[in-house]
Structures are given as structure tokens and as C-alpha cells.
Amino acid sequence: MSEIIESVKNLSIGFNSQKGKQISILRNVSTNIKKGETVGIVGESGSGKSTLALAMMGYIKQGLFPLKGECLFKSEDLLKMSSRQLEKIRGRKIAMIPQNAGQALTPNLKIGYQIDEALRLHTDLNKTERDKKISELLNKVRLPSPETMAFRYPHELSGGQQQRVAVAMALAGKPDLLLLDEPTTGLDVTTQAHVLELLRFIAKDTGTSMIYVSHDLGAIAQVSDRIVVMYAGEIVLEGPARKILKEPIHPYTYGLLKSIPKLSLAGLPASMPGSQPQPGSINEGCSFYDRCNLATDHCKKNSPDLEHIKELDTNVRCFNHKELINQNNNLQTSITKKSNNSEAIEVLKLKDVSISYAKQKFFDQLLNKISDQNPTVKDINIDIKKGETIALVGESGSGKSTILKSIAGLLKTKDGQIKFENDRILSSDLKMRNPNDLRAIQLIFQNPDESLNPNHTVEQILSQPLKLYFNLSGEELKKNIIDLLKKVRLGEFYMSRYPRQLSGGEKQRVAVARAFAAKPDIILCDEVTSALDVSVQAAVLNLLQQLKEDLGTTYVFVSHDLAVVRAISDRVAVLYQGRLCEIGPSQNVYKFPSHPYTEVLLGAVLEPDPDIKPKLVAEDIVEEKPPEKGCSFQGRCPRKIGDICNLEVPPWQIGENGNAIRCHINIDELASLQQ
């Protein structure tokens, strides 16, 4: 058995509540990190995973303090060290790779200086050796032109490059243990896959142990040897990665895995009821009791201990884990959607829509001159049928949200038309639209924290559209609000609550209810599940699907997550740099042949399965602007055939399975290339 590097023993961390009670957010956590091993710590927000990771560096956030237990690094307790001693360990023995490198790099210091700082603190190299080392490190993390990179400021790099710089900085002190706190969250799918690939390479190359903290089981599955699952401040399951992902024997992990939408599966993922308990709210019994379908009265009264199961090499905190072993073959199933009987009535048509963010100069405006020849979004033609869910998919900067905004009337189009119901042209200016059109198109935003007024109760939030569009008041208004809450599975007592008193999932339900209050024909969903935990995401997706089946609403669903889109949508439009690449029925877009960009995107999706590795076919370059001529994907295309791609906009080709692809390569040839 290999050497243990760091060992956490019975660690509890908590804070003092306003009532003077001690509330623990980490309870009795014990785990060991072995040399050369990568441990994934997974859990939803609020499970205590980041607190645990930071404590493993001897860092406790302000307001929190250790209640008991220890963090032993090479048999010394980090929690008892002076800051002088910790400075010698941080960066040199244990290094951190932060979640958001864009914010974790000091903005006024050059990249080179920040890496140099780590070298000066933790090595004895002289100036010339350090300079050499800096470009070595930048090279190792595969940053382009390491010589000039050192002289750039953090904001001059793309998100993926910033993350690589953070990795280089962490490697500078040659640490024995690397701590990664959600290192790829917030990056685009293709970039994420590349960064993970790099991390895996580094782990193998340097033999460093890693602790990988994430909410994303897909990313965890790609890097971890062992997985620790946290729930409500406790470890509920711990064991070899493959066992945990393929045969989870804790009901929470089982539910979590089932609630992740998977690329290989059509249909919606199963959702788990309820949400994670707040710290301090569990007094007795199992913390998962409320949400567990295996729970018995015994679980209500007694809290289970972490039990070691020898044959699986797994620790589990559940009384009834044996019952799960037989259920595991069900992991690869999903809820089938009722397919809409396509009435083929088109409710919304986008015709040659272009949108430009470039401000027209004053004089150009006077002369009515069009200044921007290369708008952010160009030539968008989409016909949306009544009752269908059409998804717009692409990485950041693909123009998907921009299109949504101009359908909503928040952004003026530069060219083209938006036609609504019977080919009536809808003005792209909000002020020019009539109230009924405004009612008919509603928007749900990504982050309910920002889209719900924190000073309004749920009742006030929901009454606004009802008053505005239907002039309701008094008893009738109240009845409608209760109906709406019922539709989104919230009880009547939520009416008097404020958004801050709701969980993330509940808030998004209120936002959904607000959109439905207007009895809209079309609902625009802008990354509505991106800010939610996986189990909550599944519940919201199911809710949206249910409402659609009941009310016949049309959704335009924008997301960067291909698996989510696969689960919810009937049709998918793939966008790159504001230009359409591919559009078709979703079951076909996910099959080949597809546009090279779709192929790249699909290849980069991380599945919560250690046996499905992402395929990295294109470089993760970030393009700032769409190319002026030719195909929008020319800069990154792995299948580029030559000058024609640079000069001519590719034609639409329709494949035998009904998806339209914009590419110069013949569609049959694409099919054989992708086999």
C-alpha cells in the first residue's frame, strides 16, 4: 500500500449562528489521500466540499472555525500551524488551482511575475534559471508562445488560457499535492475537455496527488481514481471511481447519477425530490431521509455510520445499501417524452436575421449607412413550430443568447425579420410591440437570484404579470397565483416568502411560474438550468416538459450543455460565431453525419462514465470575431479542406436523416469520415 500524504481525521467545521448556536457545515469527515492518487470530491452546492478542500490546505474561510478533528499533512496538523509555517507549505507542498482563474489571478500583475513569485517563494533558483523555468512551465501547460505570454496581463488571455496559467503557477513549487477547486466549471465544453486532458497528463507525468473538487460527475469521472461523495457536510460514499459510478450503493449517489442527462440517452433524466437540508437543520436521523426512497422509520431516528464494505473496497453511510445493488442496472434509463404531434403550424419565423453589437456612429446614422459588415449574428433562418422545443446550442460567443434577446425585443436586429403568427412581422423594438405580443413571448433567465426582485414576495412577483395582462385583482388574482404555484409544484404557503427564503430550485420554479402567468405562446429559456444543481436541474427539466405537454407551449431553449439539450429538445440548431452550422431533429443531430463543429462539441462532452473518454478533435482557440468571409468555423475546423472554406460561405446540405448542415464537404463524405 502506498504512502498516505494527507489524512483528514474526524474533521468538523462550523460557525456560530446569530442565536449563538454552533452549526456545523462539515461533520466528522475522515479521509486519506495516497501518494500519486487522484481523489474526486463530488457533491452539490452546500455539501461542504470546498470547505473540506480548503481545510486540507489549512485555510478556513472567514466566519468559520474548526470544531474538532485534524488535517494531518505528513503527520503534522495544518489547522494548528502558525501562518509562518503555513506559508512554507502552501504552494510548495500543497498547491491550489482555483475555480475561476480569471478572478484568481491578480489583475495588475503580469502572468510571468505571478509565476515568478511562486518560484521565488518556493525554490532556490536564480533570476536566469527562474526565467527559463517560467517558459518551461508555460510550455508544459501548452500555452502558445510562452516567451511573450509571460509579459501579458491576466485579462488579455481567454478563460482556458487563464486556467492553464493557474495550473503553471501551481506546478511552480513542485507540490506533492494539488488541490483543484472546480477547475473547469465555467469553461466552454471544448476548453474544459482540453484542460482536463492536461490535468490528467500532469498527474501521470509528475506523480502528484490530486484532490479534484467538483459538482460535475462527468469531469470527476474523467480524472479520478477514487471518489468521495459528500452530502450535507458528510461523506456518504467513498470508493474506487469505477465502482461509485457504475454501481453506486448509496441512494443519493444513485439518484444523482440518474438525474444527469446523458448524450447516449434520449428522454428526460429522473429527478430526485426535495433539496439538500440547510446546515443545522438536521437533528436526528439520516441527513438524506427526506429525499430517500429506501428510507424506513429506522433511518428517521438513527443516523447511519460510514460502513466499510470489504468486497467493494467502499465506505457507505446507509442502512439499506444492499437493496440498491440489485437496482443498478437501471442507471441507463430515462423518462420518455411524449412527442408532440407536429401540427406544423409555424408560430415564429426568423428570416435572414442579423444582429450587430457595433454602435452605429452618429454620422453613419444620419447618412443611414450600415457600418458593420460583419455583424455578431448573421443569416439566421429558423422556423419554429407550435408546441415544439427548439434548442439553440453553442459555446460562449456563439450568439445564442443574442438571438433570444432579439426575439424578446430586447435587442434590435440589424437586418431580417422576426415573424409571429401568420407571418405578421414583429418589430424588434420592444416599444413598438403591442401588449398582446409582449404577453405572448415570455423569457426565463439563467439566474433566478438576479431575475427575481429580492424585495418582493412570491405573491407580488406572480401578481405582476396577472395584473398587467389580465387586469386581475382580489380573490381572482389570489386564486390564479395559487394555481400557478400548484402548476410548478409549490404549495400555497410560498406566497408570503421572499426569494432569499427559497432554494435555488424553488426560485427557478417561481421564475417559471412567472413566465407562465402571462399564458404565453412562446417561452424563451436562457440557460435556465445552468445555475442549478444536477438533481434540481432534472426536476426543472421535467417540470418544463410537463407544462409543455399540458399547455402546448413552444420553447426556445438556449443552452451550452449538449446533454441537457438532448434531453429536452425536439429540434436543435447548432451555432458558431453567430452563424448556423447545423439544424435538425435532435435525435438526428446527435447521430452522424454532422457538421464538423457539432462533431467537436459532441466529442468534448464529459459523460459520468470512466469508460467514455472525450474526443479532442479541434484546438481550443478562442476567436474574438467571426471571420469576414467564408465558413464561420474555418479557424478551428479539423476537417478544413482548403481555400474554399476561407472564401465562400458553405451551402446548406440536407442529410438523409433530415438534419441540414452547412459545410463544403459533401454530406456523404462527411458520413464516411465520421464512421
Binding site: 482555483p98 475561476n100 478572478q103 484568481a104 485579462h155 503557477m169
Partner: protein, 318 residues
């Protein structure tokens, strides 16, 4: 970058032009003109005609504006009515005096404010913070005419250490001034330092809570090194504009303090010329004060631009 500076300077000039128009028009639409307000009861007959002739008030307003404006550009503000001397001669010593008062206050106040702000932020909610914060909030809330009067009462009258009011000719030398300005400087610094220290404090606290400071700690950077390299440059950047506004406020004459201490600076000149209805001087002062504000804000903007790498490269890319 150069284009940007030129653009900013151009905008500043436009601002000044508008200010000059407003003051000119304001003076025009007031009932009466320079002569009637100045001559008061004697404003009739030959005396009025002579005055109108002498000031050239008989020509149309736009011509007078152009004439006045072109003189101003050449640095000639014309004649004061009350003293019947060139305005430049009236202004000269006043500008110098205000400059002395302002620069001494700045040299003492700003470094003090920054140090106090940093101390209160780093020892947040501990004894040093509680003590300094109490004092700064206290001195911020007392209006300057009260604190100035109290200072005179205690230091000049009870203790008799320093003169209570400044009795010096308006063309006094720097050294003569220095002993006289201690009390005004203290009165001004109290408010200015308090405001700026609060600003610096909240800015430092905000940066201390940022991801990159946490990252620097986890990188093993020693505390003071982290404070000086990672925190202060980022925390003090937004303070530059506040400092600029304070300097402009000081140079523009701290009206109340100057009046209380009878200090012969620009601020008191504003009050004097308004009560004397010396409209040409009022006009001249308006232009000068506006130029000070425009100029100093321009410098502050350019400094922020130079020091903030984010803005710098943004501009270059454009």
C-alpha cells in the same frame, strides 16, 4: 492612446466653452448690467454713459462675448470694477495663496488618509479600526464651520498658541503664510482625510475579499508582501479619482474655511466679488474654477488609464 488623450482634452475644452457661455449668459440675463449694479444709486446720466462706454457695454452681446472670450484665451480677464485694476493682478496672489493652502493640506491629508484607510481595513473590526473609524466618522459629520470655530476657540483663544485669523497682506511670502495656515490646514484636513480614509478602507476591504487575494494566500505569499503587491495597487486605483476631486475642491477655494479664518484665497474672493457685484471678476473666477476641475479630472483619468493594465490594453486594441 494619443488619440484618446486628444479626445479627452477636446471634451474638456468643450466643457469650458459651455461654462463660459453659461456664465456670460447668466450675467447678461440678470436685471441691470455691470455698470448699473456697480454704480448703484449713481447709475444715471453722464456717469452711467461714461461707464457703459468704458466697459464697452454699448456693443451687442455676442460681440462682447467674442471679445471677452478671445481675451480670456490670451490670458487677459479684463478689469475689475471695484478696484479698477486688471483682474489678473487681483487673481494672482489669491491663486498663489489657495495653492499654498491646498498643497500643504494635500501633502499632509492624502498620505495620512491612505495610511489610516489601510490600517482600518487590515485591522477591520479590531481596536485600531474601531478607534480610527470613530474619529473619522466624527470629523466627517461635524460641518467645517463648526470645527473651524472650535479650533479657533481652543487653540487660538484658550491656549493662545496660534493666531486665530489670518492677518496677512494678500501678497505675503510663503514663509509668512506658513505659520498662519496651520489652523486652516487642520480644519480642512479633518474633513478631507476622513472622507478619503473611509473610501480607501472600503476599497481595501473589497480587494481583501477577492479571489486573487485568497489565491495569493494559498500560494504561500507572506502577509505583508501580499498586501503590498496584490492588494494595494488594486485597491488604490479607484481612489485616484476621489483624490482628484478632493484636490479640485481644495484648489477651487474652500469657501467656508477661508471665510472663517479670513484667509485671502480664491474661495474668499468668490464671496467678496459676489457681494461687491464685481461681475467681471465673478466671470473670471467661474472660468478659472471650471478649468481647474476639468484639468485635474483629466489628469486623474489619464493616470487611471496608465496604471490600470486592463484599460490600457483595451484602448490600444481599439
Amino acid at each position: 492612446m494619443l488619440l484618446l488623450i486628444l479626445k479627452r482634452i477636446g471634451l474638456g475644452l468643450i466643457t469650458l466653452f459651455i461654462v463660459s457661455l453659461i456664465t456670460f449668459v447668466g450675467v447678461e440675463v440678470l436685471p441691470g448690467d455691470a455698470c448699473t449694479t456697480y454704480l448703484e444709486r449713481e447709475a444715471y446720466g453722464a456717469a452711467l454713459d461714461a461707464c457703459i462706454k468704458r466697459l464697452g457695454l454699448d456693443v451687442p452681446a455676442y460681440e462682447r462675448y467674442l471679445d471677452w472670450a478671445s481675451n480670456v484665451i490670451r490670458g487677459d480677464f479684463g478689469y475689475s470694477l471695484s478696484g479698477e485694476m486688471p483682474i489678473n493682478e487681483v487673481l494672482g496672489p489669491r491663486v498663489k495663496n489657495s495653492l499654498v493652502l491646498a498643497s500643504v493640506s494635500i501633502l499632509i491629508g492624502i498620505p495620512l488618509a491612505i495610511v489610516l484607510g489601510i490600517i482600518t481595513a487590515l485591522w477591520r473590526d479590531k481596536l485600531p479600526d474601531i478607534m480610527i473609524s470613530t474619529i473619522t466618522i466624527f470629523s466627517m459629520t461635524i460641518p467645517e464651520f463648526i470645527s473651524a470655530t472650535l479650533l479657533i476657540l481652543i487653540v487660538a483663544i484658550w491656549l493662545g498658541w496660534l493666531p486665530g485669523i489670518v492677518i496677512i497682506p494678500s501678497d505675503a511670502t510663503f514663509y509668512e503664510l506658513l505659520s498662519n495656515i496651520i489652523l486652516p490646514v487642520v480644519a480642512i484636513s479633518m474633513i478631507m482625510t476622513a472622507h478619503m480614509a473611509r473610501m480607501v478602507r472600503s476599497s481595501v476591504i473589497q480587494v481583501m475579499a477577492s479571489d486573487y487575494v485568497q489565491m495569493a494566500i494559498l500560494k504561500g505569499v507572506p502577509y505583508w508582501k501580499m498586501v503590498f503587491r496584490h492588494v494595494l495597487p488594486n485597491a488604490l486605483l479607484p481612489a485616484i479619482n476621489v483624490v482628484a476631486l478632493t484636490i479640485a475642491w481644495l484648489l477651487g477655494g474652500v469657501v467656508v474655511t477661508e471665510v472663517v479664518f479670513n484667509y485671502p484665497g480664491l474661495g474668499r474672493l468668490v464671496i467678496e466679488s459676489i457681494s461687491n457685484r464685481d461681475l467681471p471678476v465673478v466671470q473670471a473666477l467661474a472660468i478659472i474654477l471650471a478649468s481647474i476641475y476639468v484639468g485635474i479630472n483629466l489628469i486623474a483619468d489619464l493616470m487611471t488609464l496608465m496604471l490600470n493594465p486592463r484599460l490600457k490594453s483595451l484602448q490600444i486594441r481599439k
